[in-house]
Each structure stands twice: as C-alpha cells, then as structure tokens.
Amino acid sequence: MLLPIVFLLFVAGLLVWQVRSAEQTVERIQVANQNIATANLISALVVDEETGVRGYQNTSNEIFLQPYEFSIGPLQDAFAKLRSGIAAEHGDQSAIDDLVAAHQQWVTTIAEPMIDTVRNGGNTRDPGANLRGKAALDNIRAINGAIIDTEKQQNAIAVQRWQSQVTHTLYGVVAASLISGVLIGAFARNRLHAVTTAFQSTLLALRDETQITYQSEQRLLATLTSIGEGVVVCSSEGCIELLNSVAEHLTGWSQYEALNLAIHKVFVLVDEAMRDAVENPFDQVKRTNRLTGTLHALLVQREGSVLQIDCSGSPIHDRFGTLLRVVIVFRDVTEQRRTQAALVASEKLAVAGRLAATIAHEIHNPLDAVVNLLYLMKSSSTPEEMQQFIQMASVELDRVTQISRAMLGMYRESRTPVALELKPIVDSVLVLLERQLAKAQISITSVIPDDAIVTGYPAELRQVFTNLISNAAEASAPGSSIEILARLIAAPRGGSPAHPRAGVIVIINDHGTGIAASDLDRLFTPFFTTKGEHGTGLGLWVSQGIIEKHGGNITVESRASSTDQGTTISVFLPRGEAELSTTKADN
C-alpha cells in the first residue's frame, strides 16, 4: 500500500529536480546567447569608433567624429555587461580583461593621438600610425571573436546538455510510469487477492453457519417431536403453527389439518368437575403476557372424548417485548390421576383401619350390653325390670345406630356438591373419635356457628376433619386440649389473595409437639409421615387435595417456643353456590 505512494513521490521529486536543472541549463543558454549578442554589439561599437576616427581623420570635421564619441559610453556598458555575463557563467575573466585592455590601448595609443593630431592640424597620413591602428583593432577583433567563439561553444554545450537532460527526463518518466504501473498493478492484484480470500472465507463461514443452524434446527425439531409432552405453538393471533406428534396424538388433529386453524378449535379445555369451558392458556398468556402456572383441565379431543391434562402456556417475545408466539405444553395425566385416585382410596381405607378400634368398641360395647340384657330378660324378671331392660337396650341400640350412621356418612359419596352445615359434620367426626380421644385423655372444645355453611361433599369433608383431628390428637400429650373454632368470612371487596371468596375458616389448634421446620415443607407430599409404620403418609396429601377440590385452602403453622407449643391448622372452605335443602339430609 505504502510502496507505490512512496515511489510516486520519489518520481515526482526526481522530475522536479530534473525540471529545475533543465531550467538552469536553459538559463545558461540564455546567458551565453546574451554574451554573444553583447560581444557582437562590442564589435559593432568598435567598428563605429573606428569609422568615427577614420572619418574625422579624412575630413577633420568634428561631425564625423560623432560615432566615435557616441560609442564610448555604450561600449563601457557593453564591457560591464559582458563581464558580468561571463562571470555568471563562471567563465574566464582574463579574456574580457584582455579585450578591455586592447581597446584601451587602441584608444590611448591610436585613436586619441589621432584625434589630437587632426585637431591640431597635424599630419595624419602617417602610414605607420595607420598600420599600428589596424593592428590594434585586429587585436581587439581577435579577442572579441575568441570570446564569441567561447560563448558559442558554451551555448552549444548547454544546448547539448539540455537535450540530454530532456532525453533523460523522458526516459525517467517512461521508466517511472512503467515501474509505478507495475507496482500499482501488483498492489491492485494483491488487494484483489485479499478481497477474494476474505469473500471466500466469508462464504465458507456462512456455509458452515447455515449448516450448523440447519443441524441445530433439526435437533430441536427432533427433540420437540420426540418429547413426551404435547407442544402446540401458535401465533399471537391464535393460529396454530405447530403441533408435535404427542400433541397430534392427544388432540386428534394432525399438524397438516390443524395448521392455521384457531387454537380454540384445536385445543379445547373444559373444567374437570363441571365440564364448563375454562380459560385457554393461550388467552391467559395474551391477557397476562407471562407464563401461566400449571392448569388442570379436561382436553376435549377431536372426536369428542376427553383426557385429563396438565397444561401451561408461555409467551415468546421479540427483543422489544412484543408477543410473537404462544407455546402451550401439556401432558396426559389420566393415568397419573388414576394412580392418585388409587392412593386416595387407599388412604380412605387407612382412615377406616385407624377407626376400626373405635368401631369395634363403639359397636361391640352396646351390642354386648344388649345381648346381656336379652339374657337377663329371658331369665325370670319382674315386669318393672323388663321395662328397665328394654329401655336400656333401646339406648344402647341408639348408640350403635349413631355410630353406623357416622360411619356410613364417611363413605357415602355424593355425586354433586351440596350445601353443608359444618357443625354436624365436625360433630359426627367427633363421635367417631370420642373413644380415641378419651383414651388419650384429650379434651376437645368445638365452637362452630350454626350458620357456618360451605358447599362440598360431606363424606370427603368428614375424612378431612377426621384426619386433621386425629393428627392433632396423636401429637398431643395426655391431659392437653384441642380447640376447634370456625368463623365466617365475608367476600372481601375486590377479593383478597388468600380468601377471595366468602366462606368459612376452620381452625384446629393443638398443644402438642409441633412440627419441625424441616418437615413443614414436606407435610403435603404423599408418603411423607412422621408416624413410622402407623401412618400411610397420605392423610394430609389427600386432605389437601379434597380441600383444593372444594376451592379452599389449608395452611399449617407450628409453634415451638418454650411457653407455647403446638400446631394450628387453618382450613378455608368457600360458601359456594349450592342451596341449603330445607329438609335436613341425614349427613
């Protein structure tokens, strides 16, 4: 890059130098020419002088002497000029000195004495003087001629030098042009080569990148296709862009058929319990513009059958946060729910097992009394005694009936949620647990308002309270107490996060051992138990499931200070919509 420029600058410098020296040569030619002219002028002036002197000599008329006199001044000027001209050429000054001296000699020895002789009327016809005069003038002419020859020579040398300089410059320019042409060509070739290489490597890199992009796209596509969950991608307008194979299988739509269809047509969700339409995760993402939580719902397949699924939606944004796409991921949980249902059923049986002691006691004791009373009645008794025995047997049988009803209530499923008074529900649970609690010497106080009404499934709620009260009792030391308290919650204006709806909070408070902080997080996970072989580890998990199904929630707080120990469980159950039937159902 730098080389041609440096070279061009060098060539330019060389040219300037050449031009400068050519100019000097021309100057020298001019000086030489001028000197020749001056020397010629000197010749002419000397001739004039001679002519003047000769005329005056012949005529003795002063008028003829005029050329001589007029030439004296210019001749001095011409000498000076010639002297400086030769000096400018650094020439030999002796020639001009000789010339001036020869002329002066002629003036003083020939011309002036001749003029004086004529003025004085003397003899001018002295052949000797004329010959001397001629010789002096010849001498002047010879010297001047030599000067002219020298100057001509100088001129010729300078001209020759100038010609050679011009020739050299020409050669130099041609050579420089050639070299710079070659250099520029080489440089251009070099640059072109570099550009070509860069272009080629860019092209290669681009090809590699395309290859990598393609491979990664294929990999992602393969991952997406082989992933075990259904994936639906739709545009921000809700048009289907992609269904992976699991999604195709679960929805019953093929990718080809579903392409560009509305998400609401392909991915239809209904509520698990009521079969009402539920908000599509797509709409939820559009509304909130962020990831949804896991939603449980029924997916209506193309041919109309339903699947239980868990699904979630997430937005895809561009760099500016504009919603580009929505991705819905879902999974068939029918099998999982079936397993869960089996676990729930097994917990129900476990509750029954735990209640077996109570059942045996509560039923066997009154039955034993009745059997014994019948034995007494069969043997001789007075009518008064008979009356008393019948009365006692009837009381005992009432007890059995009460227990069996409570047991039945525990297991009789109702198909739709109904409005329930909580008080009789909790009371019936306490009837079943009475024996267990008495045995553990635990006193229970239960304060539940009569108008504490919720909507739900009585058998399931009995199971929940049996579980929670049994847990409290098992954690309590003999002689301690458990308090059950319920209060009504009005629907707050605008809704509060914890209790967005009207309902009832039931608080079960014990003074037992409390729960270790490390266990609190795991309380509601299945198979977590602190009771060793005596617990299934399903109780709280199932209870939570039931409460959440009712639209409620359950929270646990544990106190472990030295002055106050124990656990408080709060259960919120919504009032719901169901009407309380006027004829009391036997719960």
Partner: protein
Amino acid sequence: MSQSGHLVLCVDDETVGLQVRRLILERSGYKVITALDGKSGLSLFESNPVEAVVLDYAMPGMHGGEVAARMRERKPHVPILLLSAYLGLPPEITKLVNVYMTKGEGAPALLEKLGSLFEN
C-alpha cells in the same frame, strides 16, 4: 348355678354394660363391686378381699393391661378375666391374665369362664 357369694370386682368405663354385667353376675350368686376406671378399680382391689376380677381392656387413662399388671404385683393369686371389644390383643397382655374373651360372646360364656376360675 350358685357361686356361693364369691366377691368379684368388675371394672369397665361403659356405665350400661357394667350395670348389666353386675346384674348377671349377681343373679348367678356372686357378690359384685364395680369401678368405672382403672384407678378406682385398683383401690377397690386393694381394700376388698376380691376373689376374681372381670376387667375391661379399653378404658381412658389406664388400659386393662396396665391395671392387670398392677393387680398381679399386689395380689398375684387373684384370677383375672380380661374382656375386650378388640379382637387380637398382643400376647404380652393376654399372658398376664387367666382368661381373655371378647365382648359379645354372651352371658353364658362369661359365667362359664368366670366359674372355671374358681374350680381350680
């Protein structure tokens, strides 16, 4: 039929059951004293010349097994009949007592097993 007035202590937290059992035993000729829990049963056991005990297992506070063990410490010779609504009590409890039977087997069975305690 008549058991010539052996003194029997009945302990049970079931008021009605205890009352009926007392009637049956008295009709068979036993003298009967009753207690509604283990603690008062033990004090009656110590202060009376009890010849046999009919003991309920499931009682609040102190269960029948514990009561039987304490009675054995005081008067090891007094036979004990343990009644229970439960089926299948653990052997370390049943081996403490002379006879173990479940409620609901009926009065004749009770009388027969109690009578057998006095035959030895």
